[in-house]
Amino acid sequence: MHVTTEKFHGRAKKAIANKNLQGGLFIIGKIFTAMRDHAMAQMPEFEALRDQARDIKRHTLENLDTYLQQFEERVIENGGRVHWARDGEEANRIIAQLCKEVDAQTVIKSKSMVTEELELNPALEAEGLAVTETDLGEYIIQLRGEKPFHIVAPAWHLTAGEVADTFYEAHKAHGRTERVEDKVKLVEEARIVLRERFKKADVGITGANFLIAETGSIALVTNEGNADLCATLPRKHIAVTGIEKIIPTLDDLALFWRVLPRSATGQDTANYLSLYSGPRREGDADGPESFDIVLVDNGRSDMLGTAVEDMLRCIRCGACLNACPVFTSVGGQTYGSVYSGPMGSVLTPALTSVSQAAMLPNASTFCGKCEEVCPVRIPLPSMMRHWREEEFSKHYSPAAQRWGLGLWAYAARTPWAYRLATTWGRKVLALMGGKERVAHALPFIGKGWSEKRDLNVGEGATFLEQYERRKRRGGAKGERV
């Protein structure tokens, strides 16, 4: 998984200045969250369901080996195969090999964040395969060569006009000569182009929202129906997902089925919940000839038993992204990781390293809204703090910052030094504030402040000095000196 988190600031500035993108973020921040809140209000038991969802995931993670083994046994009984991939490279190699087994030329895919993480598409293309994303949003960003903007809504940052331009260029080869901007017509156009790909594809690759251990099934939660075409039309169906997606039983799925769509989009239910449990059996009218599941570790098992184990509960609903004031200011591509927002800020350092991704867990005010909405109650702020502690203890944070914090910690347990520092600090601020007592340009670390803000420097000495003076004069209660 490649990350470019170091370019966060530059991309954030561009995203904030991009009106179209801000329009998309406005809808995410206002409408998505309102839809979720509405769905919650309809369901008084939702808080209890969150507890149950957390407990099921917790139990499953504690017994991960058992459930994964059970899952594999059931899949084999159902006539499918399970492949274990330690890392991204191995996963991509296995998937390419599976495609070769059936002499595949063309692959269709439904939306899968794990395959984004693996960078599967370029790996398959390097093997000579033609890969088409069939989720509308993923299809659009594939044509544009972009990374997902949001884990649930990958092309949300684009306007119909931008999509029209993309389609106009890309679909010329399909004999389409007209640029249309009407949203219904754009969907129709994508549908016509994609339908041909569906019909011709040799292999269909899907993700999996859940793996059900007791039946050896995968569950897909979608709105467009494209995943079902990927899973049923081609000769081979390959499902690729992370090992943490396992849950014990179908009853557990029923619970997550109530929690996931409501958290993601505020829908009572997504349009499709599909269970796939193996290849076409004798007498079946349709279905693939072979069914393979690639279970990806890629850093996940290393998270077990650590301070970030709880992150493995994540069901990728995107509620924390929608609720996050940082995400809704800058959008997902700013993060430089396919996983963005609070969940991405915790997961990305775990799947890469703190030194590569420290920018992300620091991109939070710890406002706590993400934890408030997480359907499986992941303590996201504490885990971001954990990564900051790793960063600090490994000396990755800038030296000036470390020195500053060290001095401050010294002053804060040495009262005379603290009083001296704050007394002089106030004198300097008073000078900078001038007659109007407002500073417009601060030096050093304050530069970031005065980029967007002035500073009311107030009047008089520090509170402690003023209070001591009051005491010496025997001043009246509440009186200021």
Binding site: A12, P325, V438, F463, G478, E479
Partner: protein
Amino acid sequence: MPHPSAASKKVGLFATCLVNTMRPRVGFAALKLLEEAGFEVEVPKEQTCCGQPNYNSGDRNGARAMAEHFLKTYEGFDYVVVPSGSCGAMVRVHYPKLFEEGDPRRPRMEALAGRTYELVSFLSDVVGIELAPATVPLSVTYHDACSGLRELGIKAQPRALIGQKKCEVKEMEDAEVCCGFGGLFCVKYPEVSGEMVRRKTEAALASGAEALVTGDVGCLLNMEGALLREGKEIKALHIAELLADMTE
């Protein structure tokens, strides 16, 4: 009129580093409110910072040392009161976690955390204070600072006390959305913080209130600073200033 809960209770006021250096008036407002409620209030000279800059920057050891200093400074008080939701939450919610189970400091820290209150929740939930109407009633919009709201459950209390002052509350849209301060976040991610505070102050202005009020000096300076930069005419006040009639 001394309040019954105040009888012979000694309160230690923790003014926080931001009140001490940036907004001393908030300290005097808190002092006035507590003294008028009949408490004997002391301002320990040894007080410093709660340690959030270090804690939130990953310097757990530094933060622990500061927690220990706080323990030393305030352990002798019946109550500790803090005019800040985030410093209050630092003490109440986070301090005990800085000491391992089995560490003798941990139960002491837990006990002190239990006696430490953010100012408004102390006045409402512990004291059950009744305030006289404001001399100059203002219409106000209240920003729910994040830590106070989500870690200490402060939501109804400030609005109820503003009501006692006979000040009208004009709710802004997204009152619960972060203002973008976030301690060092605002200087480390100025572009994001700037956008967040732009949205926040826009919502505050749209409320039509005469004053923007909140319970944390950090958030207050951030929002006030953005309003000053934009040249907008709306008073920015700490809740203690409003409640203590120190609004001018």
